[in-house]
Symmetry: C2
Subunit: 454 residues, 2 copies
């Protein structure tokens, strides 16, 4: 049959979706269809399958395509799939990965499988992998490509071009060329484009530039946050003695940013990042990514029960007060979340640093008071009309205070977290909501007791 590539990928996906194994009689037909699906579509189809079905698709694909697709998956997903594949496939996939991707996969595997896979590598590949494994998790060293060209300042551009041409097979990129002295110390950087457009006979020395670089032990996210906006293709990575040990390419850098953003966005919603596509995540992993936070938040919410319990007397004298509880706590939570979201993002992008804490405090206090003034006046008016002036004054002034405090606290929390060395996203939005809930209730009932005289 002659399907278009779109029809082919739809049929493939529908077949894979039928839970369980594929009828062996249908395998040749599926194989034929898979061959029609372009690489980009294949990756996106396989990403959405659970481990069993992803493994099935990989086995049915032609070797080269199968390796390319496996390569493009997240390490967590790769690790799940490995369980479902035969040994021969596993060794081959593992062997074909880039060294830094290999290390990411090893991190996700149980120790004995990781060991077995490591031993399956050739000595030189095992050595390269070992060097990367030696750097701390989340460091640049873990994510760099360890293959680097061997270009010296005294070479002519012609010699450099020849050298790059002959080393090209082993290198991940030849577009950014770090220049080193014979002792491997980094002394400059030059782009292939500059070498390529320079006049014949010119020395590398005369066209190379001061190198930007990062230390292999530096934090990966912090490094890529300043590196990516510079629009460079690759960043030389050096060890503590300033010797070149690798290159961080832009595609590895965008992966790091994407992971960090997924993590921040997950934390802001009070969950852990999934680290693999939603539809291929097993149900219990989804539950596990949420239950801890949910319990922690529920336990902290017991504070609000406590606060209300201690004002039960006031509540029973004026039941009308309880009508506004969700409105007031909700508004406090929203104001706090807005501030926390904005400042967390600014910290991640490097727009705000921990030493800017006073500027942030001053901004958020004023923003909070302005927001509180607007909401407070609206609340005063509305509540007065429906429930009388007393309640109007209580609601209006509570809203003003809650907004001022919540914005300030919400804005400062991410900076405080970062100062004490925690991830700013740890004080996630739901956590701030709960904090604002309890504070807001105390303010509310103190004002109510004063104004209403109960």
């Amino acid at each position: 049959m002659a399907e278009t590539t779109e029809q082919a990928s739809d049929i493939v996906e529908a077949w894979l979706k039928q839970e369980g194994a594929i009828n062996p009689q249908k395998a040749p037909r599926l194989q034929e269809l898979l061959a029609k699906v372009p690489r980009k579509e294949l990756i996106s189809i396989v990403e959405r399958q659970n481990a069993l079905r992803a493994a099935l698709a990989l086995r049915l694909l032609p070797r080269e395509k199968s390796i390319a697709v496996f390569d493009a998956l997240d390490a967590k997903h790769q690790a799940d799939i490995i369980d479902e594949l035969g040994n021969a496939d596993v060794y081959e996939f593992f062997d074909e990965l880039e060294p830094e991707d290999r290390v990411a996969l090893l991190d996700e595997l149980p120790a004995e499988i990781a060991d077995r896979l490591l031993r399956s590598l050739t000595k030189s590949k095992r050595d390269v992998t070992g060097v990367i494994l030696g750097y701390p998790k989340r460091s640049v060293g873990r994510r760099m490509s360890p293959e680097v060209p061997d270009i010296h300042p005294d070479m002519s551009v012609d010699e450099a071009l020849d050298m790059l041409r002959s080393q090209s097979d082993e290198l991940e990129t030849i577009y950014t060329v770090p220049v080193t002295r014979p002792d491997r110390r980094l002394v400059g950087v030059v782009s292939l484009r500059e070498i390529f457009t320079a006049e014949s006979g010119v020395s590398i020395d005369s066209i190379m530039q001061e190198p930007l670089f990062a230390y292999a032990s530096a934090d990966a996210e912090e490094t890529v946050r300043w590196f990516l906006p510079l629009d460079m293709l690759a960043l030389p990575i050096v060890d503590d003695s300033h010797r070149l040990v690798g290159l961080l390419t832009f595609d590895d850098a965008t992966d790091i940013v994407e992971e960090a953003d997924s993590e921040d966005s997950a934390r802001a919603g009070g969950t852990e990042a999934l680290q693999q596509p939603y539809l291929s995540t097993p149900l219990l992993k989804l539950v596990r990514s949420r239950i801890v936070w949910l319990l922690v938040l529920a336990v902290s919410a017991l504070l609000t029960v406590q606060v209300l319990d201690s004002f039960e007397d006031t509540l029973s004298k004026a039941v009308v007060l309880s009508l506004f509880i969700p409105l007031l706590t909700g508004t406090g939570g929203n104001t706090g979340n807005q501030a926390a979201t904005t400042v967390t993002r600014a910290l991640a992008l490097g727009d705000v640093r921990t030493r800017d804490i006073l500027s942030v405090l001053w901004s958020e206090l004023r923003v909070g008071m302005l927001l509180g003034a607007v909401l407070g006046l609206a609340g005063l008016g509305l509540a007065t009309v429906v429930y009388g002036a007393d309640i109007g004054i209580v609601i209006g002034s509570t809203l003003f205070l809650i907004c001022s405090i919540s914005a300030t606290v919400g804005g400062l929390m991410p900076i405080v977290a970062k100062t004490i060395g925690a991830d700013p996203a740890v004080f996630s939005n739901p956590f701030i909501s709960t904090f604002c809930d309890a504070t807001g209730l105390i303010i509310y009932f103190l004002i109510a007791k004063t104004v209403l005289g109960i």
Copy 2:
């Protein structure tokens, strides 16, 4: 004096921070210090300044550095700074921008200034800018680089290398080379690396590959979400007749993703994205980015007042019920947020598509029920111990139902939003919280009335 570059940037930043103009006598010293600060640091310092101080720094910098720094700023920030700069500076900065960055800046400027700037360009630059301006906002055409090389399939690699060398000055990238027929139709793509390592005399035809491409009118975010994971340096962009009109480079692509992620993260926190660094955003803009959402949310929270009002009778008979209001609404909001955050992210990454709505419904319902079972049992136990079995049963079963419903609704909302053509992040977390609050309260009081018989 002989400062290190770090000291120099600290001093520069401290000086700039003193509100108001710099003492003219100090300008030469500041200029001397600025010259010591590397480009990467300069960009990050200027990014954090308000328009007045950023303009001051740009005026004090050497021409070339000043252009590079201006170039690296966000379009919104550039537009603010232009107000503070002299005309000569403005024309020069504008002239030096890449065409796609020029268009982004034009979008932020008032029409008459935009017109004046456009007229200041040479005809050829104005034409290129005009082509980009012709594509809809948020389309790929707006973000592509319109300069493309002129390489044909019948050229030899040697001819192609010569051609690239001679065109290099006008091109943004020479690393990804689209191959076109004389009528400008795109027929292939080849990397400089492949041309460079091919044997002399080989034709482009024989080494070029099937091109991946995007239409200039396609949505920019959707395009880069599939393009970036492919780790390519640039993507050919074609018009509706398949004629090559530009290249989307990876650095423009990462900018698009960064903006989209900032927007999603802002929306999840119930604010609008700032589009410029936090510390350089004027106070009233901060307030404006939050007040609309806050008012909308407060108005929807009036629903909770209504719900509680209709149960006032039940409340006054059992004041103890009001103690759990923040805990129950909070937990519902948190569960809904977790689901919404996860699904919104999965939609953005393309892991989930709108047609997966039933799979998501089925997953979230089960996840919600499992979460609800855990929290419900904990609530049942705790509340029974402190407030008796009746209250325990009410709290436990309410928690179970609230979690099941909130997870399902939270998970579906982003998909529903996308289906009706809205931004999935529009149903932001605070919005879902408010919805869950009202639903949760109704469930709570219905169960309470039944169990307590009031």
